[in-house]
């Protein structure tokens, strides 16, 4: 072994170039899948390659993806939030209440985002202050948040949102480019930069890989987690604004079951459900894959549930196939 009097040996920065890494990554595999689906879709249905249709198809994933970006960070940090869809219900209900009291669009937006933040803070406090496992906490708050929405609304509905409010879910920025798609694209860039290029992102990875180690290294782990729960709440609030605006009404059952689709999107995007690894480009591609599969099969009038079989198979398959391949190669070689 070594003693310090020996001259230091040279250790290179990297063994492979970052480009090489990217080529063999999950993201490129997923991208290939996305392209394949795109090609199959355009062959299978004459209606697929149409700007307006493709634009409509983006609504299948834009709201989910907004939440998925924040959820990706949360899952990378080793936590999860299953209450996101319930937060949408509660935020939408809060907006409805504000609307009944005569609030205009800016106030509605503020109410939606604030409700999301508060819900996130509640989850975050239970997880970081009481040290409860987030999967269990958010199974509870999932019923609680939506339950409050039911208490407020009962069998009623809020409708009659101001017409300017419909811009978020129904407006277009440029030709076929919808407002929601622009929000999605902006968020993709922002989250990508935050996760991959900032100190905060690095702390998220460190926390997810080894929370104790990160704490000992001076990362304020609880603050990081709290911030991520707040962020997930905020994004759910934003999704609530878009969805409410798109539907033009609020009922307590809004967005039911969406949490699992969001988690599916994140996992499909290559984020390790156990925390510690994953990327935003992966989630972006996964959003497109899910959107393309749903839309493509929808065009062939394949029922939604059959479509969910595809998503289920994709979810398991994309992880299983490389492993099977590796096992097979090991046996053969």
């Amino acid at each position: 072994m070594s003693l310090t009097e020996n001259a230091p040996r040279h250790v290179p920065d990297r063994l492979r170039s970052p480009l090489q890494d990217k080529l063999v990554s999950w993201e490129s595999l997923l991208l290939a899948v996305a392209i394949a689906i795109f090609i199959v879709n355009s062959l299978a249905s004459p209606y697929f390659l149409n700007a307006w249709n493709l634009s409509d198809a983006t609504f299948n994933f834009t709201e989910k993806a907004m939440i998925a970006f924040a959820m990706a960070l949360l899952i990378i940090s080793g936590e999860i939030d299953l209450s996101v869809a319930a937060i949408i219900a509660l935020a939408s209900t809060a907006m409805g209440v504000a609307m009944e009291m005569g609030a205009g669009t800016p106030v509605l937006v503020l109410v939606g985002l604030t409700t999301g933040l508060l819900c996130g803070a509640f989850n975050g406090a239970l997880v970081t202050k009481l040290g409860l496992p987030s999967i269990v906490v958010t199974i509870g708050t999932m019923s609680l948040f939506r339950g409050i929405s039911y208490i407020v609304l009962g069998d009623g509905a809020f409708r009659g949102y101001p017409s300017s409010f419909s811009w978020f879910g129904q407006g277009y920025v440029f030709w076929v480019i919808s407002v929601e798609f622009v929000i999605f694209a902006l968020l993709a860039v922002i989250f990508g930069v935050v996760l991959h290029k900032t100190n905060f992102g690095r702390m998220v990875y460190a926390t997810g890989n080894n929370a104790t180690g990160a704490l000992f290294s001076g990362v304020r782990v609880d603050r990081v987690k709290m911030a991520l729960f707040l962020l997930t709440g905020l994004m759910s609030g934003l999704a609530a604004i878009c969805l409410t605006s798109r539907l033009g009404s609020t009922r307590p059952s809004i967005a039911s079951g969406m949490e699992l689709e969001v988690v599916t999107m994140v996992v499909l995007g290559g984020v390790n459900i156990l925390g510690g690894s994953g990327s935003i480009p992966g989630v972006v591609i996964a959003a497109f894959v899910m959107g393309l599969v749903t839309f493509g099969l929808g065009l062939l009038n394949v029922p939604g549930i059959v479509l969910s079989i595809f998503i289920g198979l994709l979810l398991i398959g994309v992880i299983a196939l490389p492993r099977l391949w590796a096992m097979w190669r090991k046996k053969a070689g």
Partner: protein, 325 residues
């Protein structure tokens, strides 16, 4: 060792309190006949929760139980439609076998391919439901299409308790013995408690997890038949979202989501607690719109409470502090 036991005692106390409060507003709720009805109504949840407990103990989670239930239930119903005279024993055997097989699919993926259980079962959950749709084209099978002995079995009465309730009792006893007195049961605790150490003691972690998934699947399959027979209807969406109730029952019962800790009795009490809440709310005339929020709050409180009482007190180095405690 005392606080674990006392945690179950406290949960039991909470259930009694709940019954007391309900009885104050509505005495008939605690009439023996009604208590039996509540127990019977909670039986499916109890059976599923025991399977889920085994899975959670090994550090996994099974989100596909409700979908497994629906698929197995549908297959049982279809068999009944095709062969109305087939005895119930055969149907029971089919439900156990098919459920176990579906559980084995989860187990294999977790064991051989090391895919995280939550991902596997999230996937199979949608796949199983999708398969029901493919099998039936989405059509329902209704009461009038099922034969009387098929739907009658879970509700036939033995000593004043329906068979469904007795099955829950039987499954509980089997699980008690399995978890406490068999190598597999102890391995399940060991694998969840310390997977690394389990390898060193010659326990195959993956295989044990596989076994837990098979148990969970088998019980889900059994519940599938019972469910379909009890409500006399089978369709794609039966027991939709029920997997979360099952997980909640385990968690309320003190099963640690991190694996290795939790008991059969606790799980049963957790399921009963939820069952009593569910059955009591409509009775005491609380607006149906409050039910969801109340059960959510109950889960959060139970979990916070469990965590508080289960928190290890830490070791004490100072002699003076030791005496003060």
């Amino acid at each position: 060792m005392s606080h674990l036991k006392s945690r179950e005692a406290i949960l039991f106390g909470a259930i009694l309190c709940l019954l007391f409060v309900v009885a104050a507003r509505f005495p008939a709720f605690v009439a023996p006949g009604n208590l039996v009805a509540v127990f019977t109504d909670t039986s499916p949840l109890m059976i599923l929760a025991m399977g889920q407990m085994a899975v959670i103990l090994t550090r996994c989670i099974d989100l596909s139980v409700a979908a497994n239930l629906a698929l197995t239930g549908m297959v049982c119903a279809m068999i009944n439609v095709a062969a109305p005279d087939l005895p119930v024993v055969v149907i029971l055997a089919v439900s156990l076998a098919l459920g176990a097989m579906l559980g084995a699919i989860n187990g294999i993926l977790v064991w051989k391919l090391s895919i995280p259980p939550i991902v596997v079962t999230l996937g199979t959950m949608t796949i199983f439901r999708g398969i029901i749709f493919l099998l039936t084209d989405g059509k329902w099978i209704n009461a009038h299409e099922m034969s009387p002995h098929f739907t009658g079995f879970p509700r036939s009465d033995i000593f004043g308790v329906p068979v469904l309730g007795w099955i829950a009792v039987l499954v509980s006893v089997v699980m008690l013995v399995l978890m406490a007195r068999t190598t597999l049961g102890r391995s399940i605790y060991a694998v969840g408690g310390n997977p690394h150490a389990a390898i060193y003691t010659g326990i195959d972690v993956g295989k044990t997890q596989f076994a837990a998934f098979v148990i969970s699947g088998m019980l889900a399959g059994l519940t599938g038949y019972l469910w379909v027979a009890r409500y006399s209807v089978a369709y794609v969406d039966i027991a939709g979202g029920f997997e979360l109730d099952v997980v909640a029952a385990c968690v309320i019962g003190g099963v640690s989501i991190a694996g290795g800790a939790g008991t059969v009795v606790g799980t049963l009490l957790g399921a009963l607690f939820l069952g009593v809440v569910k059955n009591a709310l409509p009775v005491v005339d609380i607006s149906p719109f409050w039910q969801l929020a109340i059960s959510g709050a109950a889960i959060i409180i139970a979990v916070a409470f469990n965590a508080q009482s289960g928190r290890s007190k830490g070791r004490v180095i100072l002699k003076s502090a030791e005496h003060a405690q």
